[in-house]
C-alpha cells in the first residue's frame, strides 16, 4: 500500500478534533432520469449524463433536453449538479447542430460539459459561456505540463487518463491550480482512451463517436511469424491471449485521494442498473463522509466492502493508482461471474404502525427467501420474507410479475426508495 501523506491544506482542527474541510465531489453516472434520481437520492454530489448527440454511449438511454431539465431540477433540490458528456471526436459531418445543442444544455441549467474535441470546447466557450468545460479522459491527459496547457486554455476541470497514478496526481495538483477529476470505480478501457480504434477495424463502428464494441474483451490466439511460418505461442489447453482488465475499485484508497486533494471522484457506468448505482454510490458516500468527519480515527468497515461486492460482476483491482498493474489485474480465461445479489424490489412506502412495506417487485422472490434492505437512511439489514400479499390483498407464495406491487411485514423502519436485494443461489 502507498503511504498516506497528510495534506494540511484540506484539514482544520475544530474543538481539538481534526476534520477534512475539502470534501471531494462524488460523481455518479446516470443513463436515464430514473438512474439520475437514484444516484442523487443515494448521495451523489453530481451526476454525468449523455444527451442524444455528441456523446460516447450510443447504447445508453440518453436524455432529451426536457429530461435534462427535469434532472437538473431534481438534482438542485438535493444541492447536486448535472454534467453532460459531449466527448466524441467529431468528424466534419458531426459539426452541425452543435451550437443549438450547447445553448439548450446551458439553458436547462446543466453545470458543465465533459468534452474532448477542441471543436466543442471552443464552440461552447463562444455560444454557451455559462457552462463549465471539463476535459474528458478521451484526451488521455497523463502529465502535469499538459494539465497546465488546458489550464491556460481556460478549462475548469480535467479528467485524468486512467493510466495516471497517485504520485503523478500529487505532482499535477502541486504544479497546476485546476480541478482534477479521477475515476474511482467501474469498468476500464485497457487502451489509452481515444487511442483505440479496434472497433473501427473489426466491426466498422467508430469507437471515438460512441460505437465501441469492446473488442478488447474478446479472446485472441498469439502467434509468431518465423520467416513466414506461423508458429503458435500457445499449446492445447493454454488460456487464449486476452486484454480484458478487471474493473477499477478504489474504495480503500479514498482517504488517499482525499489527501491528494482530488476534486471529483468519478464512478463509471451509465449503462448500469439502478441497483448498481444505489449500491456503489451509497458505499462511497459513507466512506467519504466518515473519513472527512474524523480522518484520525477512520477505518474502513468490512460491511461496506461486502456491500460494494454485492453488485459486482467482474473482479476488481486498483489499476494504475498504486503503480503499474500486473497480469493479476487482467482477466484471463474466465467470463464475468453472475452478481452475488440481485435487485429484487423498490420500497414505495412503509407504514410504521402496521410495520408493512409496500414494494415494487423488480425481480422474482418468494416467501422464505433471505433478502436485504439498504438505503441512505438506514443501516443495511437482512431478513427472511414471511407472508406476502398482492395489491388486491390476496396472499401469494411468490412475487413473480415484473413491477407488481406487494406488501409484507418488515420489523425495522424503511423509507421510500430504499432497495431490496436477494442473494443469488
Amino acid at each position: 500500500m502507498l503511504q498516506l501523506i497528510q495534506n494540511d491544506k484540506i484539514r482544520e482542527t475544530v474543538n481539538g478534533k481534526t476534520v477534512i474541510t475539502k470534501k471531494p465531489e462524488l460523481l455518479a453516472p446516470a443513463g436515464s432520469l430514473e438512474k439520475l434520481k437514484v444516484a442523487v437520492h443515494y448521495g451523489a454530489d453530481a451526476v454525468f449524463i449523455g444527451g442524444q448527440e455528441f456523446g460516447l454511449r450510443s447504447n445508453a438511454g440518453n436524455f432529451s433536453i426536457e429530461e435534462m431539465r427535469e434532472g437538473v431540477e431534481f438534482a438542485q433540490k438535493y444541492g447536486a449538479v448535472v454534467y453532460v458528456t459531449t466527448n466524441i471526436f467529431a468528424h466534419n459531418e458531426n459539426m452541425s447542430g452543435l451550437e443549438e445543442y450547447l445553448q439548450a444544455i446551458e439553458d436547462v441549467g446543466v453545470k458543465g460539459i465533459i468534452v474532448a474535441d477542441p471543436l466543442i470546447i471552443e464552440t461552447c466557450r463562444r455560444v454557451a459561456p455559462k457552462l463549465e468545460i471539463h476535459l474528458s479522459t478521451q484526451q488521455s491527459l497523463s502529465n502535469w505540463k499538459a494539465v497546465k496547457y488546458w489550464k491556460q486554455e481556460g478549462l475548469h476541470r480535467v479528467v485524468l487518463a486512467r493510466e495516471v497514478g497517485a504520485e503523478e496526481m500529487r505532482k499535477m495538483k502541486e504544479e497546476v491550480d485546476i480541478e482534477i477529476e479521477a475515476f474511482v470505480h467501474g469498468a476500464m478501457c485497457i487502451a489509452y482512451s481515444g487511442r483505440c480504434v479496434l472497433s473501427n477495424h473489426m466491426t466498422a463502428r467508430d469507437s471515438n463517436r460512441g460505437g465501441c464494441c469492446q473488442s478488447c474483451r474478446w479472446d485472441y490466439d498469439l502467434y509468431e511469424n518465423v520467416d513466414g511460418e506461423e508458429v503458435a505461442l500457445f499449446e492445447e489447453g493454454d488460456a487464449p491471449f486476452a486484454m480484458s482488465p478487471k474493473d477499477l475499485k478504489l474504495i480503500e484508497s479514498i482517504p488517499h485521494m482525499i489527501e491528494l486533494g482530488i476534486d471529483s471522484l468519478k464512478v463509471e457506468g451509465r449503462m448500469k442498473s439502478i441497483h448498481y448505482i444505489a449500491t456503489v454510490i451509497s458505499v462511497y458516500r459513507k466512506v467519504i463522509d466518515a473519513y472527512c468527519a474524523d480522518p484520525e480515527n477512520f477505518t474502513i468497515k468490512k460491511e461496506w466492502l461486502e456491500e460494494l461486492d454485492r453488485c459486482a460482476n467482474r473482479a476488481a483491482a486498483s489499476s494504475f493508482f498504486e503503480g503499474e498493474p500486473s497480469y493479476k489485474q487482467q482477466m484471463f480465461g474466465f467470463a464475468p461471474s453472475k452478481m452475488k445479489w440481485d435487485f429484487a424490489g423498490l420500497v414505495l412506502d412503509y407504514n410504521e404502525e402496521t410495520q408493512m412495506v409496500t414494494l415494487q417487485q423488480r425481480n422474482y422472490f418468494k416467501q422464505g427467501d433471505t433478502i436485504e434492505f439498504f438505503g441512505p437512511e438506514i443501516e443495511s439489514f437482512k431478513m427472511e420474507v414471511g407472508q406476502i400479499w398482492n395489491d388486491k390483498g390476496e396472499e401469494i407464495e411468490v412475487a413473480n410479475h415484473p413491477l407488481q406491487i406487494v406488501t409484507f411485514k418488515v420489523d425495522r423502519s424503511l423509507f421510500k426508495n430504499n432497495m431490496m436485494r436477494k442473494e443469488n443461489k
Binding site: 467529431a90 468528424h91 497523463s142 505540463k145 479496434l198 473501427n200 467508430d206
Partner: protein
C-alpha cells in the same frame, strides 16, 4: 499545383541513403522514449548524422515527439527538444500538448506538426492547433476520402495523409504480452521477447492477423491489412494534399525502399507528365507492390472508401 511531399520512415542512417535515391522527400525519425511506433530507432547522434545527410540533398527531417508523456519523462523531453533545436531538424511531430508548452517555454523555433493519430478527425481541430503554432496537421487514418478532401478545403495548415503501410489501432500503457506470459507462468520467456516484433494476434472469427509488440510506451496493436492507395491517388493530388506518408513500421528496409520508389514514380508521372500518364501507369505500380507484399499482409484501402457507423 505543386507536387506533394513523399514522407517515409527509414530504419537507419544507411537506409536513408537508399531512400534518398529512391525518391523520398522527407523522413520521420526518432526514438521510442519520445516518439511512437517508429520504423527505426535513432539516437540523438544518429538524428544529427541523418539530418546532415538529408539536408545535403535538400530534403527534410521530422522528429517524432508524439508519445503520450507521463510526468517522469518531462525533464528528458526538455533536454531532447533543446538537442533537436541545436541539430536544426525541420519539424517536431507532437500529439501531447505538453510538447507545445515545453516548446513555448524553451523558445524552440522548430516548426510543429500536430499528430495525435486517431483523434485528428475534423478541420476545426486542424485549425485550432494551427492557431497554436502547428504548421501541419497529420490526419487520422480512420477518415473517408470525402472527409480528407473537406478538411483540406477548410484548413489553414498543411495536411498530411497516410497512403501506405499499416496503422496502429490500439495502444495500452500495460505490458499485455509480458502479462500474458507471466500469467501462464513463463515469466522468463518474455525477457527474450522484448525486441520481438514478429508476433501477431489471430482473430479466428474475422480471419484477421493483427501485429502486436511491446516497447517503452506499452503495447501496440496494428491493422490486419497494409493500406495501399497507389492506384487511388488522383483525388488526393487534385485536393492538394501537402504530404503523402508511407509508414514503414514493421517492414523490411528493402520493402520500404522499393515501395518508396513506386510512389515516387506515381507522383512524378502525374505532375510531370499529366493525369493520363498516372492513369496508364498505376495498375502496373499496384502489381509491383502486390509482387513484393509479405504473405501475411494483405493490401486494402484503409478507411478511405469504408464507412463507419456509431
Amino acid at each position: 499545383m505543386s507536387k506533394p511531399e513523399l514522407l517515409v520512415t527509414p530504419k537507419s542512417v544507411d537506409h536513408i541513403k537508399a531512400l534518398l535515391s529512391a525518391g523520398a522527400d522527407a523522413f520521420v525519425i526518432g526514438e521510442q522514449q519520445f516518439g511512437l511506433r517508429l520504423a527505426g530507432e535513432f539516437t540523438v547522434q544518429q538524428v544529427k548524422e541523418a539530418t546532415e545527410l538529408v539536408h545535403a540533398s535538400n530534403k527534410k527531417v521530422y522528429v517524432a515527439v508524439n508519445a503520450l508523456f507521463h510526468n517522469d519523462r518531462l525533464d528528458a523531453l526538455d533536454v531532447y527538444l533543446k538537442e533537436m533545436q541545436k541539430i536544426g531538424v525541420d519539424a517536431i511531430i507532437f500529439g501531447d500538448p505538453a510538447v507545445l508548452v515545453a516548446v513555448r517555454e524553451l523558445g524552440i523555433t522548430i516548426p510543429l506538426h500536430w499528430n495525435p493519430e486517431t483523434t485528428a478527425t475534423n478541420w476545426f481541430q486542424a485549425n485550432y492547433w494551427a492557431e497554436r503554432g502547428a504548421k501541419r496537421a497529420v490526419l487520422a487514418r480512420e477518415l473517408s476520402l470525402d472527409e480528407i478532401v473537406e478538411i483540406k478545403e477548410n484548413s489553414k495548415s498543411e495536411i498530411e495523409v497516410q497512403v501506405h503501410g499499416m496503422t496502429c489501432m490500439f495502444q495500452s500503457k500495460r505490458k499485455l504480452l509480458g502479462n500474458y506470459f507471466l500469467y501462464r507462468g513463463e515469466a522468463m520467456e518474455i525477457e527474450n521477447r522484448k525486441e520481438n516484433k514478429n508476433m501477431f494476434l489471430h482473430d479466428k472469427e474475422r480471419k484477421n492477423k493483427y501485429p502486436i509488440y511491446e516497447d517503452l510506451n506499452g503495447t501496440h496493436i496494428f491493422s490486419p491489412n497494409d493500406m495501399c492507395l497507389i492506384d487511388e491517388l488522383t483525388e488526393l493530388f487534385e485536393a492538394g494534399i501537402d504530404t503523402l506518408k508511407f509508414d514503414g513500421v514493421l517492414q523490411t528496409e528493402e520493402y520500404i525502399t522499393t515501395v518508396t520508389n513506386i510512389y515516387r514514380q506515381a507522383i512524378d508521372a502525374y505532375f510531370d507528365q499529366g493525369e493520363d500518364a498516372y492513369e496508364d501507369l498505376k495498375d502496373d505500380l499496384l502489381e509491383k507492390i502486390e509482387g513484393i507484399q509479405p504473405p501475411l499482409r494483405p493490401l486494402d484501402t484503409g478507411f478511405v472508401f469504408k464507412e463507419t457507423v456509431y
